[in-house]
Homo-oligomer: 190 residues x 4
DNA sequence: TGCTAAACGAGACGGTACGTCAGGTCTTACT
DNA sequence: AGTAAGACCTGACGTACCGTCTCGTTTAGCA
């Protein structure tokens, strides 16, 4: 039942090759064939681990996310949001951005995959913002009743940017967005 | 000297086949090969008109957009936004939604195409919201200084939804979003 | 120094699976992978015993041949040849025929293997005919000077048939061939 | 209805590459992939013309055969047979021999293909010998009643040799075989 | 020139078979 | 009892083909 254990070096090589390919050529340049070739690994070895291109990308991205999920707690809502957005946007301007674009491209082609992504990645990112809001709410900062819509307002523009113009995601834009969301969240109830 | 004029029936057949394919099978089911086959037209005839799959989709979508760009003017900001969002979301749940998803998928794979889409489609949609805001501003309703970020907050969540879960774009969600943006736009300056 | 002895049940399972596969699906259906799978034995266990597919087949066939090498001695050349050909052809219409075809296919792809087959199988089959001829020669029946060519005329048509049309190898054909070879062998010298 | 005509240069390149591969590496070295690669042609172009490896080889061989089917007519049976056998064996020692081996290997794996080969190649080769025999028969040389078995005795040993030892097919062997078959064909009826 | 039909090179797709190798477990014989 | 050799199973691995597909281009001929 045991058999030869999977070679961790192979796992790493696949992930590494995926990162390189996405970074170099974007989603268009990524193929199962190409990943295998670049990583010096057989196609079998790739397909044994992942059933599709999307899974490879999702896993590569998850590996990133595992190491650094920002969860600032400065005691000030706007500051927290700003920190999170700046860090997140900074990442989106690099390799993780390309990975996210690839992920989105896959999700657009496969509803099932989209659901998997939501459950794997999106949920935890949303939870991070949720916690920031909840903390601020317990401090009495937040008056807006609905967390969900606030979270959509935080991430929606990011994906909008990723799809059509990733260069938009600057620190300045993070500041504007943080201000807007904070303003809304703390607006006096009518 | 001019030669045989292009057959408009061919144009229509291509557009029609594109719509059908997107409607039936989503972006994954769309290919230049398939469009030609379904429309009963040669591949050459397609490539003579469009340089890529993206262009076909963009054109098919532009044809839609030309006919119905909502620009409500009820005299009330929230009402205007709500109307626009409801109409837009309704469309996104149908064929234009699938087209937009296809468009996004293409844009994610080709930065140049993304720019073209921005200039062709996105700009005019944003302008529509900009006009709504400007009218409200001239009525004294809007206090928030920055139109751009408000527009991002209107459209960002829509694309976010299109990528990961199109069913999210309900009338109820339109209402929540309209409320949120209106609240922010009309929040008292500090 | 000694280690665990090889399990004879494994030997049997391999041979049995090989026979079944050849019988069911012919040479095309035979693969080392398949033999291992069908016999419920690991690939290692097969490769430990045989270095190639050809060796497996050769061994399976040798097991057959060991049990029944016809060597009729009726006191009449034609009768002897007829008996031998009928028995041989009868076998060729069954599993041993499929094995011989597989053997030929391997031999055609590997000259070394062809030589091994010649030394293992072909030589003894030829010897059997050689003895029939020698006995007839000692009775004064055979006048033709060259045994080798006579033996080629006995077996050549069989392989010709195995390659292109195994159904040809009927009793009637055995009779015609026995007659022809006998006629030649006993033809008056000029 | 017309479409672009097939490029004859592609046909030639495929045939040429096939010949080279068979000559260099034998049947084992021949693959559809390899043929395409060596000929500098796409796999599609090969599959468009031939449904299998066997068809490629059959066609390459047919092209050979078309140019030189020996049909000697010296007025003497043995002389005719000898000429035909010498020429045929000479060819078998070269590229056509390797092609014939490849053909046989395919035929052994696919009964349908074997039938096709029989109808395409084998039949005409047998007919050539049949004509020689018929001419001799009309001269009163041949007394043996059955052409078919005589033809089997001519070709059987050749295929026997091709399968297990192609070096056997020398001029000396051709002479022995010609003598044997002539002797049988002209043996006095009993 | 527009248009259809089909060929073409390129290369990804998902899969199979080859022969090898790495981790375990189990069986024998020699200490 | 302890140890070492080797059989054996499971399953991973790189290599090489398989036959199919789509892409974007090209070539011929009809309208």
């Amino acid at each position: 039942m045991t058999g030869r254990p999977r070679d961790p070096a192979v796992d790493d090589a696949i992930r590494q090759a995926t990162l390189e390919l996405v970074a170099d050529q974007g989603y268009r340049g990524v193929s199962m064939e190409g990943i295998a070739a670049r990583s010096g690994v057989s196609k079998q070895a790739v397909y044994r681990r992942y059933s599709s291109k999307g899974e490879v990308i999702l896993d590569a991205l998850a590996a990133y996310a595992r190491t650094r999920l920002p969860n600032p707690d400065t005691g000030d809502l706007r500051e927290d949001l700003l920190t999170l957005l700046e860090e997140t946007f900074a990442a989106q301007r690099g390799v993780p951005g390309a990975l996210n674009q690839a992920l989105a491209a896959e999700a657009l082609q496969d509803a099932d995959f989209a659901r998997r992504v939501t459950e794997t990645l999106i949920r935890s990112r949303r939870a991070a913002v949720g916690e920031i809001l909840d903390r601020a709410r317990s401090r009495g900062e937040v008056t807006y009743p609905d967390n969900d819509i606030l979270i959509d307002l935080v991430f929606g523009p990011m994906w909008y940017g990723l799809v059509f113009d990733a260069t938009k995601l600057t620190d300045a834009y993070a500041a504007e967005l943080a201000t807007a969301v904070t303003t809304l969240a703390t607006s006096p109830p009518n």
